[in-house]
Symmetry: C2
Subunit: 232 residues, 2 copies
């Protein structure tokens, strides 16, 4: 029962779609999955922007020539992907997710959105009526399989072509044990990352909100902080 | 500005009092500070129980003969300590803290209490009207200096005499930068630990609540998980 990556499923054949794939977090994740040889589909409201972003990512250092990185609008991306990462700004989260209910039915949906506000004192967690962004997604997508994950990965680190490894753990909150294994295996595709099951959806709020602490840590120590779970 | 333990203050002369020092978390912290050579004062509602607990801790492996580990009732403990750790069950938190307002005036108070509930599905964070346990303490102790810290340290690891090191980071939330340095220096006294400033009190809720995730991780992976901040 200890953490053992060798027990995780083979996910190398899955297509990963990224809704909000033209934003910093989405683009960074797309780049890392493309570097790892995963099929990646960039989603955006505009298919043209998504296609341009896909071409840009395919040309980045470390992405193999012939890597399958393509772009499409959000509906097409949802429909054609096996695993769909939601990486939109919190502002547009509910509307974007609700509009994709039909194409996301039966899909594994990974929400990495952090509902944060900012004022003069820095970042702070916003109250979400459903409890967390991922619980809002679960309420809006009753036919999908829902996880929170990749909440803490630093967009600048993801985007830095000099970095071969990103040493941190991806915390996965879900009700769906098999989905947790698939997402953990995807996290493992990025060198340095592990995917750790970290509780049910009702315990996702504090994982999302903890991003405010990471931003405070980054400011204080001039870092791009993440977390590693100890004793695993 | 990177993390640099050499910039932390010398805290070797401070007396650390532990309110709730006869509980698992409090006793474990007392043991580790006693091993590190810190003067430790165990607090309990009953002075007799506190004194017995202090004698027990002084006799544990790794605590130097002649180490200053003593016991007293909570009021005496608060009065005679420089830094006072609140390690009581959440149930008794407000009453215990409110009763110590006068002896805690001017003291550095470190709250490590995690407001959690448990049901058939495991642990979950409780709603606290003030936002978090430490914000409740701040409201009840207007003349004290307040930090949250030591929320994630595992009581079984603290108590294990075979362990020379406990490799994890202590996250410190506070409005008081100097207090953060003192608490970080105290954390550094325990081999393997670092003390990391992790934001203001309004961002302490998710640190406390994250203990529910650590419990889920412990259950899933048969571990005593903590966290390490990466890139520091």
């Amino acid at each position: 029962m200890a953490y053992d990556a060798s027990t995780l499923p083979d996910v190398s054949g899955l297509t990963v779609g990224i809704i909000g794939g033209t934003g910093d977090q989405g683009r960074g994740l797309a780049y890392r999955f493309a570097r790892a040889g995963q099929q990646v589909l960039i989603g955006s409201r505009s298919a043209e922007r998504a296609e341009q972003s896909a071409r840009d990512i395919a040309a980045l250092p470390g992405v193999a020539a012939g890597a399958e990185v393509t772009g499409a609008d959000n509906v097409e991306t949802a429909r054609r992907s096996d695993v769909v990462i939601i990486a939109v700004p919190w502002d547009g989260h509910a509307d974007t997710v609700a509009a994709l209910r039909e194409p996301l039915a039966g899909k594994l949906v990974v929400d990495c959105v952090n509902p944060l506000g900012f004022d003069k004192q820095g970042p702070y967690p916003l109250r979400v009526p459903e409890g967390s962004a991922v619980q809002q997604a679960a309420a809006l997508l009753p036919e999908s399989r829902i996880c929170a994950a990749f909440n803490h990965v630093s967009a600048p680190l993801l985007a830095d072509p000099e970095l071969d490894r990103i040493d941190l753990d991806v915390l996965i909150c879900t009700e769906d044990r098999e989905a947790a294994g698939i997402v953990a295996a995807l996290a493992e595709r990025i060198p340095g990352m592990r995917g750790i099951y970290a509780g049910r959806l009702r315990n996702a709020h504090q994982v999302e909100a903890f991003t405010a602490n990471l931003i405070a840590i980054n400011k204080r120590y001039k870092a791009h902080a993440g977390i590693r779970v100890t004793d695993l």
